[in-house]
């Protein structure tokens, strides 16, 4: 102790240690109080949760019971309605079947009637067609006969005109040939005449006559002003 009093640093350290110990104790107490309060709060919440759960289960069971009751009621009502509907349906079905059978019978009768009419009309139509066909064939034959007759007449006329044209062309050809030949003959006559004249006059014509013809040629050239 005397040592402590004598050394101030040791004293200060001892005081700080004591204060720290006291603060630790204080904090420890505070934490313990807080933990106990939290546990208590959690216990309350847990308790309330269980209560709520029990109430919910109870209510659910009540609802389920009511629902089952209602379901049973509905099923019972549905069965009654269903039997009622079945009766009505079978009744209406039988009525419909009856109506349908009547309609089918009527339709069958009508069909039979229609078929009979059709057969009758078909026979009539066939007869009419036969008559009409015969008439058309007769008309066709008449037309063919007329056209053939016309065609033959036209052909005869065309042939006649064609032959006439051919004859005309042939005649023209013959005439052309004839004229050509005649022209050729004429040319030959002239050539022969010229040759004969040339031969005869060359020998027989006197020089004076030749000169006279030359003078005549010069005179003619002068008249024609050949030398301008």
């Amino acid at each position: 102790m005397s040592d402590l009093l004598q050394n101030p640093i040791s004293l200060i350290l001892a005081i700080i240690t004591a204060i720290t110990f006291l603060l630790y104790l204080r904090e420890y107490n505070k934490r313990r109080n807080l933990e106990s309060e939290g546990d208590k709060f959690l216990q309350d919440i847990k308790k309330k949760g269980w209560e709520n759960l029990h109430q919910s289960i109870k209510k659910s069971q009540e609802i389920l019971g009511e629902a089952e009751l209602e379901g049973i009621k509905v099923i019972a009502g549905s069965e009654v309605e269903l039997s009622k509907l079945e009766n009505e349906y079978s009744k209406k079905l039988s009525q419909s079947l009856e109506t349908s059978r009547r309609n089918i019978d009527a339709a069958q009768n009508k069909l039979m009637q229609f078929m009979a009419d059709l057969q009758k009309k078909s026979a009539e139509f066939e007869e009419a067609s036969k008559v009409s066909g015969q008439q058309r064939i007769n008309q066709l034959f008449d037309k063919v006969e007329n056209k053939l007759s016309d065609f033959l007449v036209q052909t005869a006329q065309k042939t006649s005109s064609s032959i006439e044209l051919e004859l005309k062309a042939s005649r023209q050809l013959i005439d052309t040939y004839k004229n050509g030949q005649l022209k050729l003959i004429d040319e030959n006559i002239i050539t022969m005449m010229e040759q004969t004249l040339s031969l005869v006059l060359g020998k027989k014509m006197s020089l004076n006559d030749q000169l006279d013809l030359v003078y005549e040629a010069l005179e003619k050239a002068k008249i024609e002003k050949f030398i301008a």
């Binding site: 010229e194 060359g202 030359v214 005549e216 040629a217 010069l218 050949f226």
Partner: protein, 160 residues
């Protein structure tokens, strides 16, 4: 030059006659001026007569110095002379040529007209002329051609 040519043309009527006479004249003059036998041509009596017919003053125009020049000029002149080509059926002698030539010059009033005589026996008789490239047939053949229709008609009548 004109005078020499006019004297020559006075009684020369055809182109061949003119060329022939020029050759004779030239030959004769060359012989006169320069002598020698080689430069003469075989001249006929007619040629010699023609040479003698030329006047004295005509020959005086020629000298030793100008003879070649004159003949060269004459040849040029000849090529430019008016020439009438005449087709005949006979070959004319000098007399006939004189007759035909003088009548032609008189008829056309063309004193220097030269005839270019050609033979065409097909003409039968008469003449055909060519002047500046234009041919005209005045022969008997042309007359026959022109009256061909009448002749044929007459011939046909005769045949009937």
């Amino acid at each position: 030059m004109e005078e020499i040519l006019n004297i020559i043309l006075k009684n020369t009527y055809s182109l061949s006659q003119l060329k022939h006479r020029l050759r004779i004249l030239k030959s004769n003059l060359l012989k006169t001026f320069f002598g020698g036998e080689n430069q003469t041509l075989n001249s006929t009596t007619q040629d010699l007569n023609w040479l003698e017919s030329l006047p004295e003053n005509f020959y005086r125009k020629f000298t030793k110095d100008n003879i070649y020049q004159i003949f060269a000029d004459l040849e040029k002149k000849i090529s430019n002379l008016p020439t009438l080509a005449m087709y005949l059926t006979f070959e004319p002698n000098d007399t006939t040529l004189y007759q035909v030539g003088s009548v032609a010059r008189k008829t056309f009033n063309y004193p220097s007209l030269i005839l270019d005589i050609k033979l065409d026996p097909n003409l039968i008789a008469g003449a055909a002329l060519v002047w500046k490239g234009v041919y005209k047939d005045y022969s008997l053949r042309a007359k026959v051609e022109n009256r061909k229709a009448e002749i044929i008609e007459g011939f046909k009548k005769y045949l009937k």
